[in-house]
Amino acid sequence: MMLDSTDSYVTEDGRTIGGVVMEMKNITLRFGGVVAIKDISFDIREGEIRAIIGPNGAGKSSMLNVISGFYVPQDGEVLFHGKPRPHMKPYEVAQQGIARTFQNIALFEGMTVLDNVMTGRLNKMNSGLLAQAIWRGKAEQEEIENREKAEKIIDFLEIQHIRKTPVARLPYGLKKRVELARALVSEPSILLLDEPMAGMNVEEKEDMSRFILDVNDEFGTTIALIEHDMGVVMDLSDRVVVMDYGKKIGDGTPSDIRNNQAVIDAYLGVAHD
């Protein structure tokens, strides 16, 4: 199936996938002598779940960091809604509606679950320092409106019972869920998930998969996720990018990828020349 960048189509399970929202064009990223990403291009379509897979050290997290504005590639550009994106600080990227979670959980350990989630609303709140100091009128109003949104996500991800618990006291699986809540509550148009299920048991993985599908389905959020569990990737994603040693070795639907010789070699550990 060949699609234009503006075409849309309907998936087997009835979701509409739109045109390209984000495009990586010939991205190259080096750290000193290490080439983490070598001339990679791919795109992400509106409403799809796009997986990025590859062995350890392939450069997957680096790719998300480029999208987040955290790493600046030496070559290539990122197109957002068809326009080349100028160099942006991470917080500016966040303001554009791109939210993410991290491979190693990056929550605010000293704050409660509720405060962590509320922090995710920060781009939606704009009362000034003085208004907040007085806490009457707009500041209080805003706090309550945004609290309602936060509580909705907290309900959605089934973490009501730990609302007031400091994050440092939570087990790993719940932390991952809180981090997803913090990203989701900002109502992102694109959600980047770096190994959302790493280190989870089967049951937790099932829960997490369900949440990801629900997010995509209910909010129409475009999702790019990195995942090692092939079963999960094949189940969840509409399209997959495969990376190995910084290079793109495959790009297509899950069934394309399953039958791609280069991908099979990379996963079976065939020697590189």
Partner: protein
């Protein structure tokens, strides 16, 4: 079973967001306010005002200021003494330049000036963190003291190099100068503390506080979810400087009346206020009060017990004080970084469910 949460249900987010969500806490807060404003002014005498109440009120404001910067935003500062000096000298220059303006506004303006100076010295925090930032603020401390000694414009060219607070009144009652009464100076400082505490509480429970804490807990993640790190850090320096400047102005104008900068606002002051928030509790407004009360009362109590009661020599008691403070700092840093405030919280949590813990 007086202290209870059970049965105290919240039906709106406004209720749940209150500073004192539990009824009993709220009543206790009103009682404290009533005693502070309505009873103590009638009982106060010069000894208690000077030995405990005034320094407690003024240091509490400074501790709140430093706690916002260090406890909430995670930026260590050893420049508190220097910033208090900025407040003191700003207040002095304003008092002498505009004698007709009410001292209340001079103190506020002194806070404003200090906020600007503190923000300027906070600029290195955009590049450096932790230990290196502490050293940079230490440089600010020494530079500011040197500046106020060196440039005689700051002390209006007085021969002694000191600054002296002229008499100023509020509603006709003197609050600075030689003819003040204990209740008036006490109330004047109390008003500033009450306002500072309310502002600090409002800022820290809302989005601004979350941005500060996000920077403190993990600055990279904070930036990736949309916190502008420059704004968050500099606003912490500004708000912190505002409170510290007010406390410096009050310390000079109301409490001491005359100040020689190196003696009063030296590096010891920076450490004293830092110890207050470590012992009281980092990242807690209540902890700022607790730490200030503790370190102001400790020497008074030790003198009462050691010197007056047991007849020990003064210098031994002074050394005991140093040992106690040193030991407490180590204990709190290692065992309970959230200080007295956390011990208090744990005690309350136990009480909350007492007598049925399950």
């Amino acid at each position: 079973m007086f202290y209870r949460e059970a049965g105290d249900f919240k039906t709106s987010y406004t209720d749940d967001n209150q500073t004192f969500p539990i009824k009993f806490d709220r009543y206790r807060y009103y009682v404290v306010l009533a005693v502070a404003f309505g009873i103590i002014p009638f009982l106060i005498n010069d000894y208690w005002a000077n030995a405990f109440l005034l320094p407690f009120l003024i240091y509490s404001i400074a501790a709140i200021g430093l706690n916002i910067l260090t406890g909430y935003c995670g930026q260590v500062s050893l420049g508190t003494g220097g910033f208090m000096a900025v407040g003191a000298y700003a207040c002095y220059k304003l008092m002498t330049a505009f004698p007709d303006v009410n001292i209340f506004f001079h103190v506020i303006a002194a806070g404003g000036v200090t906020a600007i100076v503190c923000t300027a010295f906070g600029l290195p925090s955009l590049r450096i963190k932790g230990f290196y930032l502490a050293v940079a603020t230490l440089a600010a401390q020494f530079f500011l003291v040197w500046l106020f000694n060196k440039v005689s414009w700051f002390y209006n060219y007085s021969a002694s190099g000191q600054i002296n607070a002229p008499e100023r009144t509020v509603f006709g009652v003197p609050v600075t100068g030689a003819n003040t009464e204990a209740w008036a100076t006490y109330l004047f400082c109390l008003v500033f503390l009450a306002i500072s505490a309310i502002i600090a509480r409002n800022l820290t429970r809302g989005m601004q506080g979350r941005k500060w804490m996000a920077i403190r807990d993990m600055d990279i993640a904070a930036e990736i979810i949309g916190v502008n790190p420059m704004r968050a850090k500099l606003s912490a320096f500004a708000v912190s400087g505002f409170f510290i400047g007010i406390s410096g102005a009050l310390f000079f104008a109301v409490y001491l009346g005359a100040v020689e900068v190196g003696e009063v606002f030296g590096i010891q002051k920076s450490f004293l206020v830092l110890f207050m928030i470590i012992i009281g509790g980092l990242g807690s407004i209540f902890g700022s009060f607790a730490g200030a009360a503790f370190l102001v009362l400790l020497p008074v109590a030790l003198k009462l017990v050691g010197v007056d009661l047991l007849g020990w020599p003064t210098d031994i008691v002074a050394h005991i004080q140093l040992i106690i403070v040193g030991a407490l700092i180590i204990i709190f840093l290692i065992a309970e970084p959230h200080g007295i405030a956390q011990l208090w919280r744990v005690a309350k949590e136990k009480l909350r469910l007492w007598p049925f813990p399950h």
